[in-house]
């Protein structure tokens, strides 16, 4: 099932499906290693509008909520 990264609880795993945004945004994500087809784990989500931390390929990346809301992830039920 497809969900945005923002909707995922910490600990959830999923496969990155696609990004919602302009090419610049997509490139920014891809060049830091967040790419379609990769497995992603949500490490934590900070409260009060704070950022989301994910792990891809053994690397952790911090991204703001707005960005997290535009990353679509395929998660198993």
């Amino acid at each position: 099932m497809e969900k945005t990264l923002l909707e995922l609880e910490p600990g959830t795993q999923g496969t990155i499906a696609r990004f919602i945004g302009n090419p610049g945004f997509v490139r920014k994500l891809r060049t830091i290693g967040i790419r379609e087809g990769k497995t992603l784990t949500v490490v934590t989500r900070h409260p009060l509008g704070g950022p989301v931390v994910i792990e891809v390929d053994g690397r952790e990346v911090t991204l703001g909520r707005g960005m997290a809301g535009r990353v679509v992830v395929d998660v198993a039920e």
Partner: protein, 571 residues
Amino acid sequence: MKTVVLMGNPNVGKSGIFSRLTGTRVITSNYAGTTVDVSRGKMHLPDGPAGVIDAPGTYSLTPTNPAEEVAARILGEADIVVNVVDATNLERNLYLTLETLERGVPAVVALNLWDEAGHQGIAIDVAGLEALLGVPVVPTVGLSGEGIRELVGRLGEARPSATIRPMSEEERWATVGRITGEVQTIAHRHHTLADRLAEASIRPISGLFIALAVIAAAFLAVRWIGEGLIAYVFEPLFDLYTPIVMRASDLLGPGILHEILIGRLFEGEIDYVQSMGLLTTGLFVPFAMILPYIVAFYLVLSILEDTGYLPRLATLADTFFHRLGMHGYGIIPVFLGFGCNVPGALATRVLETKKQRFIAATLMSLAIPCMAQIAMVFGVLGPFGLRYVVMVFATLAVVYVAAGLILNRVVPGECPEIFLEIPPYRAPDLRATATKTWMRVRGFIGEAIPYLFLGILLVNLLYSVGFLDLLAAVFAPVMEAWLGLPAGAAVALLVGFLRKDLAVGMLVPLGMSPEQLVIAVTMLTIYFPCVATFVVLLRELGARGMLAAAGVMVTAALLVGGALRMILIGF
């Protein structure tokens, strides 16, 4: 002369390799954005000397912040590119590699962090990668120097890639995937206990406690090391030195030379803080009051930087900094600014937009006193009781937050969100930490001490021609009526433009109450940056930006000074 340019993603060890190639030391740290400017050095190639440029890290040649813009621009200067690649993260790094090779510049790839790749069970077929990329590929360990000689040896073979042709972005991604798949094998790795502990430092609640503990420990360590150095090293040295200056004082006798070299005597004795002579205050303030804390601060900062903790702190701080118009990485200029505002101002380049950089730079100049100034504040206010020191820092904290909230609303522009890579934790390398601390301390000695001397000289001269009395008289209304300070404090504010630490020292002879000192010291921090910081800010913000920032500073100084006066002294 040929130019060799080091290109690569952030935090892959470019600066480390630069130091190895050139013998010129540059700052390396375990987080993205350490190098925001270019460092230039020289090395020897078989066909003569060559210039080497350490570019800031970038993920692609389409820049997203000024540091990356610098990198993209520098590529144009390259005769040879050394593309430094993180072997533990090949796939992500290859995108920039391809983009670079597509430009047709002669290149060599350094597969750095080769040791860590080994530890993580990552194997890379170097010969295979070399064939696919069409340029030499050399495994290196920047930290130990392994592979550097071979890298240098193969710079002669650098050539435009024979296999990589310009391609579209989608093709490039596909190629990255294909190459990685062909040359890399990863042994499956389980989560270890260390991984779980590392994660605790980035989670909201556990992370907050760890952050508080780390900051408290860092603060105590700076204080403890600084006081230790003073008590056991610098004061004993000055005890040996005092009879010598006293002798010199006798020999010189009264006169202008005595005024300048030794300064005023208090009941026949030298007062190292108040005498204002080059050989007394001019040496004591920088060496016995400030330097010990500078050493301590940079040692602690280096350790924090090299462990990789700062990006985690930035993540935790994001929620807060976001409300001030920046994002979590805004904490980096704050941290560096506590050492010296100049690197703090440069570090604002890690922020993406003009608005964010303006806010970060302005807030830092307003409310982040540098270590030299902090040391003097403790020295001058500490004897009256720690609560006065706390008043100063609490006020500055309030100013930082309040000004940030306001600027976020009134400054036009965008505030992109935090987006950063968390580097792996690393044990700081002792030698690297010591070298880095020494580089920064040497920087302090080289830059601050001439200014301090100059400041003391200038103060003496201006006093003798009566200029400072005139200045005090002119500003007396503002000082006395609005801030409740003696007119002479205006002189300290003027000197503060040169060196704030010296200015704090100049407040001592005015015989103010601790409350007045709190006001004066706070004003000194807020009203304007010192000349060295001012020059950098002017360059980073432009004349208009600087003018706006200065407006904020003067307004804030007057408002805060007036408010403090009402609270602490009354009307």
